[in-house]
Subunit: 80 residues, 2 copies
């Protein structure tokens, strides 16, 4: 069993209203010094056996991210 993490974030050129709302709320709550927040998604996949990088990329692009507005990264987390 392996664990794979796929992070999906809005592209830098895309506005992120959820993140901006958090920046505003932080200021109102008195948390200073946070200049920007971006909100994205994190998917944790439990893999039985092996899966190759090409297949993981296909899953991320076809199902988990909207590649028009989002970037994705895949990370394998080794467990013993």
């Amino acid at each position: 069993m392996a664990k794979v993490v796929v992070n999906v974030m809005p592209k830098t050129e895309i506005l992120d209203p959820q993140g901006q709302a958090i920046v505003g709320a932080l200021g109102r709550l008195g948390f200073d010094g946070i200049s920007d927040v971006r909100q994205g998604k994190r998917f944790e996949l439990e893999i039985d056996g092996d899966i190759d990088d090409a297949k993981l990329a296909e899953i991320a692009e076809s199902l988990l991210a909207n590649t028009v507005i989002e970037d994705w990264t895949v990370t394998r987390e080794d467990r013993s």
Copy 2:
């Protein structure tokens, strides 16, 4: 400028219907071998200057996560 990542995931004892929908879709699309998917959130915070761990924990608990149903982790990403 430092970057801090806050990951917010549903607690293991909480059902995750979004993740289960992805597991179902993966099976229908022919991607085998993925036994479980959990969907959570990833926040990337840009920090001006320094912020201590206690303040980051307060931000995560009060604003970013619903601690009744979600767990959170904070990671500092060093940049040069």
